[in-house]
Structure formats: structure tokens, C-alpha cells
């Protein structure tokens, strides 16, 4: 069963009508309804509010890192563990082939269904998860493998154990090491890019966001609770923080927006995976033209160019 959001009610109605017309084998009605659906879709999705985009970014059917990995990678193997404490299942690492290229994909994985959500800790990594990502990235550097990071987390896990083992240190270490990692890297926010937990695998030669993804310093709920003193003000907070892909591209804080299907990646996972793969390969081909040194300098300059201020 597909899940429909509040603003998708009219679409849900037409989808149901199409399904019942199909059962009756009424091809004529199906044709008419499909045209109607197309119109309704463009009407609904053209003027989405920021909050509606956030809802799409958190949509329960939205493809997660492993969904993309299964669609993209061929002959893939999963590698586990930080070799120190625990295999954090909120971060996954796969090696495999995308269009003749050997690549490594490191992604934050949310779970689907209660059992999997608990197993993946709702996509909130612990320090060992970030250390696993760093270990894998270093391995990619050693074997000259390009890395694709898939960012999708509400944030790094806030817990007692996480603090004991140095959540801050783990994130900080990643920011430091990834900025000088000598291999081609692309980071794509596929759903939620929540705070430092997202940035820890969000430092790369290129950073892009899927059309309906968000990237912010804190979750809108957290922001509303702190600044508005009222968690219910999340809609206002979402709008104020400017966290959608288009907004961030406008501020030059990210490099590109990947145009996933207009109805959202969850409606057509294969098409979404295709545009993601195309973007990754195109980015690698462009990076092939640069020397390692040029590419690294460019990455450094890009990272250091971020900020808004004036000097009087």
C-alpha cells in the first residue's frame, strides 16, 4: 500500500479510480484518468511549500541508501565494522561496479518497519558508525576508488554511550579527514540531512541534493522547540531555516540539485536511481579531467568559500 500525504489526497483518489478501472478492464476510463492524474500531479507538486517538501523528504516510502545501492551497484559486497567497537548498522558500506567503474558507496540507512528501524537506530549513527565510514573512506583512498556518500539521517544519535565514545570527536575527525581524502568523492543528500550527523559524510568534491531533500543545522522540531519554545511551530521553523534543495542551491551552499521524478523518488525508485547514477558518473567524468592536486585544491577552496558576512 502506498502512503499518501495530506496534500496528495486528490492524487490518491485518482490513483484509486485508475486501479478500479483497471480491474474492470475499462481502458478508455484508464486513459482519461491518467491524463487527469498528470494534470493534478503538475498542479500539486509545482507549488509545494517548504514544509510539504520536508514531508516528502521524510516520506516512509522514500528510497533509502540500501534501496539505491541495490539498484545501482553490480557485483556488490557489503563491508562491515569500524574494527574497534561495533558494527553500526545506521551506516552501510558497499563496494561494487557502476558502469565499469569500481566504486565505494557509504550511506546512512534508515530502517523500514519497526524491527528494521530499531536495527538501524532510525538512521542515527553512533560514533562507531562515523569511524566505520572513515575507515572505509581511507580504504577507498588507498585503492583509488571514487566514493559516493548517501546522506539520510535525522541527526547523529544523542545517547549516553555515544557521548562516552566521543560522538563529537568522531564527527570532527571525519570533517577533518574527508576534507583531505585523496580520492574522488561525491556526497548526495537523498532524504534528511540532519546537522553534524549528516555533514560527517557530507564533505566531498561535490555536494548535491535530491529535489525533495533537506539539509539543515538542526531538525525543524528542534529549532521550533528552542527558538519558538513550542515544538508545534515546526512549520514556521522549516520555512525560516531555508532547508530545501532549491534554497540551498540559491545560496551556493551546495553544487547541484538532482532532479528526481516530480512526484518524488518514492513513486519511481528506478527513475530516481537512474538520475542519481547519471549525476555521479557525470561528476566523476568531469573530475577525471583534473589532476589530483587541482581537484583537491578546488575542494578546499569550495569548503572555505562557505559563509555570509560583510567587512567594513
Amino acid at each position: 500500500m502506498a502512503t499518501y500525504l495530506d496534500f496528495e489526497k486528490s492524487i490518491k483518489q485518482i490513483d484509486e479510480d485508475i486501479a478500479s478501472a483497471r480491474i474492470k478492464a475499462d481502458n478508455h476510463a484508464v486513459e482519461i484518468l491518467e491524463k487527469e492524474l498528470e494534470k493534478e500531479v503538475s498542479k500539486t507538486y509545482k507549488n509545494l511549500s517548504d514544509y510539504q517538501k520536508l514531508q516528502l523528504a521524510r516520506h516512509p516510502d522514500r528510497p533509502y541508501a540500501i534501496d539505491y545501492i541495490r539498484l545501482l551497484l553490480q557485483d556488490s559486497y557489503e563491508l562491515h565494522g569500524d574494527r574497534a567497537f561495533k558494527d553500526d548498522l545506521a551506516i552501510v558500506c558497499y563496494i561494487g561496479y557502476i558502469a565499469e567503474r569500481k566504486v565505494m558507496v557509504i550511506g546512512e540507512q534508515k530502517g523500514r518497519g519497526t524491527k528494521n528501524k530499531l536495527k538501524r537506530n532510525f538512521g542515527m549513527p553512533n560514533p562507531e558508525g562515523y569511524r566505520k565510514a572513515l575507515r572505509m573512506a581511507k580504504m577507498a583512498e588507498k585503492f583509488d576508488l571514487p566514493v559516493l556518500f548517501l546522506v539520510d539521517t535525522p541527526g547523529a544519535y544523542p545517547g549516553i554511550g555515544a557521548e562516552e565514545r566521543g560522538q563529537s570527536e568522531a564527527i570532527a575527525r571525519n570533517l577533518y579527514e574527508m576534507s583531505k581524502l585523496n580520492t574522488k568523492s561525491v556526497s548526495v543528500v537523498i532524504g534528511e540531512g540532519g546537522s553534524g550527523g549528516a555533514l560527517a559524510i557530507g564533505v566531498a568534491d561535490r555536494v548535491a541534493m535530491m529535489r525533495y531533500s533537506v539539509f539543515s543545522v538542526i531538525s525543524p522540531e528542534g529549532c521550533a522547540a528552542i527558538l519558538w519554545n513550542d515544538p508545534a511551530k515546526q512549520e514556521s521553523a522549516t520555512k525560516a531555516m531555508k532547508i530545501t534543495a532549491d534554497d540551498l542551491l540559491g545560496f551556493d551552499l551546495i553544487d547541484d540539485v538532482i532532479e528526481e521524478p516530480i512526484t518524488g523518488a518514492h513513486r519511481d525508485k528506478v527513475a530516481a536511481a537512474k538520475v542519481l547514477a547519471d549525476y555521479f558518473i557525470k561528476s566523476l567524468e568531469e573530475m577525471d579531467q583534473l589532476s589530483d592536486e587541482d581537484r583537491m585544491n578546488k575542494r578546499y577552496e569550495r569548503i572555505c568559500s562557505m559563509g555570509a558576512f560583510e567587512e567594513k
Binding site: L72, G81, R83, A84, D87, Y97, A99, E100, E128, K132
Partner: protein, 292 residues
Amino acid sequence: MKFGEIFGNFRKKQSSPKEAPSHWVKCSKCQSLMYFKEIEHLFNVCPKCGFHMRITAQQRIDLICDEGSFTEFDSSLAPVDPLKFVDKKSYKKRITEATAKTGRTSSVISGACAINGVSAQIVVFDFGFMGGSLGSVEGEKIVRAINRAIENKEGLIIVSASGGARMQESTFSLLQMSKTSAALTKLSDAGLPFISVLTDPTMGGVSASFAWLGDVIITEPGSLIGFAGQRVIKQTIGADLPEGFQRAEFLLEHGLIDMIVQRSNMKKTISDMLKFFGKNYKKDGYELKIKA
């Protein structure tokens, strides 16, 4: 003469296992009996409970390497007894016995091979030779295999099955740990892959040196792998150990190994890793195909 002995002389003597080899194998986990041919066909994995039985170094080579591709190196290296070590037996005597038992002078077999067509250097431990212990000969063989891998730009595979460093060589064997680990840095600098396969059991000085330095660490299900033996830990901490402690699944959960691979998939996994991380291998004929 006792009563029983008089009749004992008339009894038919039972044949010893050596005279009549048993064709039946008992799984040490689920106790079920199986015909030896069936077990051989399944790479010595119990068909009932999936238990991976221990196999010899030669069986391991047959399992992993392409048929007829294995060439042994350094088989002439033999141990000496630098400390004139004697416990219940002398070290010399133990070596003689182990040599008579296995037909080799060390607990590792090393050489060049091809795995699904990919050439590589391989080192395999034989638990049957003094518990697969690491001594000077074993250390030297490993370093020479590493050097051959660097020279030929090939990957290295070490299949460990060992109780640890060899006590009879004392500090000589302890320092094989640093020797092998140091040599691996050269392999790493050359950008060549080291696939470490930990099998049941891999303990002590072997696990705490080269075996845990693999770029990719693979184990078989249920293998016992760790540093200190369970009896030692139990005595030290004075408490029972959790179930599954130091087993492969425990290690995976604790982020210490990359993957657990069934014995039937071992060869393919190793060759895929060599292809993926190896320098010379390029995959052709791949297009971007999104699988629906």
C-alpha cells in the same frame, strides 16, 4: 592370570581405526552421522546444521585455488631449536613428530596460485602441525610471500588457523608478530590488497598481528577467533562467558571483521575481492543498468 584375560585371548581383535578407515563422519555440533563422500562434496560442512568442520591446509588449497595452479615456495625452510627447549618433550622431538604426521617442516604452506583466473600469493596455516603455531619459519615464509606479492604486483591471501605464537621458540616467535606486521606496511604502500581469511581457530599472536591487518577480513560461520583463550579469560575474570563469545558472528556484531562467508562461496568471494582491489583487473562490458 585373571579370568577375563584368558577369554580375552579367544576374542576377535577389533580392528583399529587405521586398519579400517571409518566411512562415517560425525558432526561435532549436532552429532549426526554422515557418509564421508557426502561431506567431502559439501566442503566438510554439515548438511544438517551448517557447521563448518575444520579442514586441512591441503583441503583449503584445493578449495580456494584453481586446479593445478598452486606452486609451493620455500618448502625447504626448516625450524631449528635455538633455546634447546624442553617441556614434557623436547622441541626437537615435537618437530620430528609433527613432520612425520604432516610431511612438512612448518605449519604454513605458501606459494603462488590462481583463483578463478586471478593470480595471487597465498599462505595457508595447517592446524595439524603443532596447532598451527607461528614460529621463525612461518614468519619468514609470510614475509617472503609478501615480498613476492609486491614484486609481482599481486594480492596476498593468508588463511589463518592457529593457536598463536609458538611457545617453544619463546621470544623468537613473539617477534614474528612485529616482523610480519612490518612487512605488510610495504604491501600496503604498494597499494596491493591483503585478504585475510580467519578460520577456526585463530587465536593469540596470529590474530594479534598480520591476521587482523587485512584490507578485507573474511571468516567462516561459527569460527572461534580472538586473542586470549576462553579458559584463560574465565579464570582471570572469574565469571562465565556470554554465549557465542569470540565466534565469527560475535566479531561481526562488534565491527571487527568485514564479512562471514559460507565455505561454498569462499573461492568466489576471494576472487571478487582480488579483482575489485587488484591493480591490473579491469571489468569490461559493464553498462549502467538500473535493475528494476
